[in-house]
Every structure is written in C-alpha cells, then in structure tokens.
C-alpha cells in the first residue's frame, strides 16, 4: 500500500477523533459541574453560600433556610457531589462574593485535613472542575505535584473526550445496570444512585479510621491548603465563615465518631479554625436516621429539617 493512502487513512482517523472531541466538549456544558460553574459565573445574587460535596448538595434546602432566617436572606447551594476541598476552593473563586453574608462549608470525617492530591486518573466526573476553572491555581493548592504530573494535566485539560470520559461511561453503566436488573428484583436506589454504593465512601473500618486520626493528632492537626484558601477568600471578601460537621446516621456515628480520638480531633479542629476566626458547628447528631436516604445523604425532607434547624441555630440569640 502506498504511503499516501496510509497517511490519508491516518488523517481521517484523527478527524473522527477530533470531531468526537469537539462534540463531547460541546455536550459537556450540560454536566452538573458545568451547570454549577455557569451559575457561579453568572453573578447570581445571594447572601449566604453553601459549599461542600454531595452532603451539602443533598443536605441544604435553600427555601427552608431562607424562610427561617429572614426575608433578606438568599442562600445559594453550591454543593457538588463527588468533589473534594480543592474543587470547593476553585468553585469559590468563580462565585460572586456575597457581601456581609455567611460562607458555610460542610464536611465529614477528616476532610479538612486530608492531603490535596490531583492526577489525571482522579480528575473525572465533577472533579474536572479543576480542569475547567484554573488549573494553575489547583496545582498551587495541591500537595505532591511534579513536572510529569503537571504536563499530563496540562495536556488532559485540552481534551474533553478524555477528561469527560466519566460522563460517557456513566451512560454505558446506567444501561448495563438496567440490563443487569432484568429478571430480578432491582437494586435499591435513591436520588443519587444505588444505596449500597455509598457505603464505599466511608472509611474501610473503625480501626483504620482510628489509626488515621491518631496519625493526624500525633502530627498536630493542620488544615489542608484548599481549606486555608477557602478561609482566606472568605476573609478577603469580609464574609463570616462557618464550618459544619455534617449530620451522619447513628450507624456512622457509632462506628467512627464515638471515640476519644475523634473528640480530640474535633477539639483541635475547633481550635485551629477559631484561630482563623472561623466558627465550627457540630451537627453530627442533629438528624434522625429516618431522614437519611442512604448511608450518607439526607432525604429531601431531611434537608428541609436540617436547613431549618441550622437557620434557627444561627438566630441572634445563639
């Protein structure tokens, strides 16, 4: 075969891939992460901002919070599932800064002190916020970056076909699950997917978690770089910052939050945050188990109850 034909065929292969890349890049504007970033950039008006992962996304009902606070209050829930503090800091950089409002940051377990790591394998789904906003800032806020890592991420950020791969896989996975459920009782699902899946997001076991806590306590608890950035942004824009230990089921609390190590960890976190002029509210046991829809997330009713209780808690007398 003449080289000309081979070249032409190679060119056409590249053309197919480039077209698919363009199509995926255009369609990706409808992903949850893209829509959230669009909202943040569109200068929507709000006084209080809620930031965090799916616990905040599912756990805050803006209307209930607004109603309980007062008429001037307008909350915006910028929680985004399957994200880490690094993405939360980047979302905050995109958001219109509320004047004299409150920045709420919801977390669970050791999220405030976990190392911030990014690599091309982990940046999928909503974590691609890192690639869609400010990669250079993301690299500054992450630990353990090296030259190869940086080059990989710079290249990756230019190829939507690759970094939006989870959006494609999710569609295949949904079809696979549907097919898998044919002829048998379907797996129990809730708003965010299969209920049993969310157990995998908890620590492996209480002993592993206890050891992790002891390690953190031994080295003195230090907030991660993205968390420090979130606090400094709230200070720059003269917002109060309030950190929330998000509600958990009694099973989770018994297994992971019922030890001296956890109490010491929380004490140290409270102290470190207080030095930064940040208030910590421990909401771990605020919500009854019946108001959770899976191992971690509040149901819609649970979100209403939690948001109302939080707003009441923040009333001037408290």
């Amino acid at each position: 075969m003449q080289a000309y034909y081979l070249f032409l065929q190679g060119f056409l292969t590249c053309l197919v891939l480039a077209s698919a890349n363009y199509a995926v890049g255009s369609l990706a504007s409808t992903t949850v992460a893209s829509q959230l970033l669009e909202k943040c950039r569109n200068n929507i008006y709000f006084t209080d901002l809620f930031l965090g992962n799916s616990l905040i996304a599912a756990g805050i009902d803006e209307n209930s919070f607004n109603e309980e606070r007062n008429n001037d209050c307008k909350a915006f829930n910028a929680g985004c599932g399957s994200t880490k503090p690094l993405e939360h800091a980047l979302i905050l950089h995109q958001a219109t800064r509320p004047m004299n409002g409150i920045l709420f940051y919801g977390f669970f377990d050791t999220q405030l002190t976990d190392k911030s790591l990014i690599n091309w394998q982990s940046l999928v789904g909503n974590r691609t916020i890192t690639l869609k906003t400010d990669l250079n800032l993301a690299l500054k806020l992450s630990d353990h970056t090296n030259f190869i890592n940086v080059v990989q991420l710079q290249i990756l950020s230019k190829i939507p076909l690759f970094y939006e791969r989870l959006a494609i896989w999710a569609k295949v996975e949904k079809a696979r699950r549907k097919a898998g459920d044919i002829g048998r009782n379907s797996t129990e699902t809730a708003r965010f997917g299969r209920k049993e899946d969310f157990q995998l997001l908890e620590p492996k076991n209480s002993l592993a978690f206890e050891n992790e806590l002891k390690k953190l306590l031994f080295n003195k608890v230090k907030l991660s770089k993205p968390i420090l950035d979130i606090i400094s942004q709230s200070k720059i824009h003269q917002n109060k910052a309030v950190f929330l230990v998000m509600p958990m089921t009694s099973a989770h609390r018994t297994k992971f939050n019922n030890s001296d190590s956890w109490n010491s960890y929380l004490d140290q976190i409270t102290e470190v945050l207080a030095k930064q002029d940040v208030r910590l509210i421990n909401c771990l046991d605020w919500i009854d188990d019946s108001l959770f829809e899976d191992h971690l997330h509040l149901s819609a009713q649970g979100a209403k109850v939690f948001s109302t209780r939080l707003a009441k808690y923040l009333s001037p007398s408290k």
Binding site: Q9, A20, L166, E173
Partner: protein, 61 residues
Amino acid sequence: MDWPNPYFKHVMEYLGGERDDQPAMLPISLASPIWGIWWGILLLLVLVFCGQSSKFIYIDF
C-alpha cells in the same frame, strides 16, 4: 470453534485487520480512505466501553 459461515469469519478478520485479502462482495480495498474512519470509530467504541463498571462510580451527580 468452527465458524458456521466462513465468509462471515473472513469479513470479520478483514475488518479487524487480521487478514489482508479482500473478501468477495466487500468493495473496500486496503487503500480505501474508509479505513481511516473505521479505525476512528473503533477507537471511540473502545473509549466508550472501557469504563470500570465493577467499581462504584458516581453516575447521578
């Protein structure tokens, strides 16, 4: 395993790049530019179906 239809096997092997001799009634020579598009489509199919379905992935956020 014996293929029930040797012609079908021949076509599949030709499309998959294992054989170079063109099957009868398939008017696509090795020099055809269609191969470029075909390989592009195959690469996309690999990408679409290479997700780790056995591991938990967030699909509803």
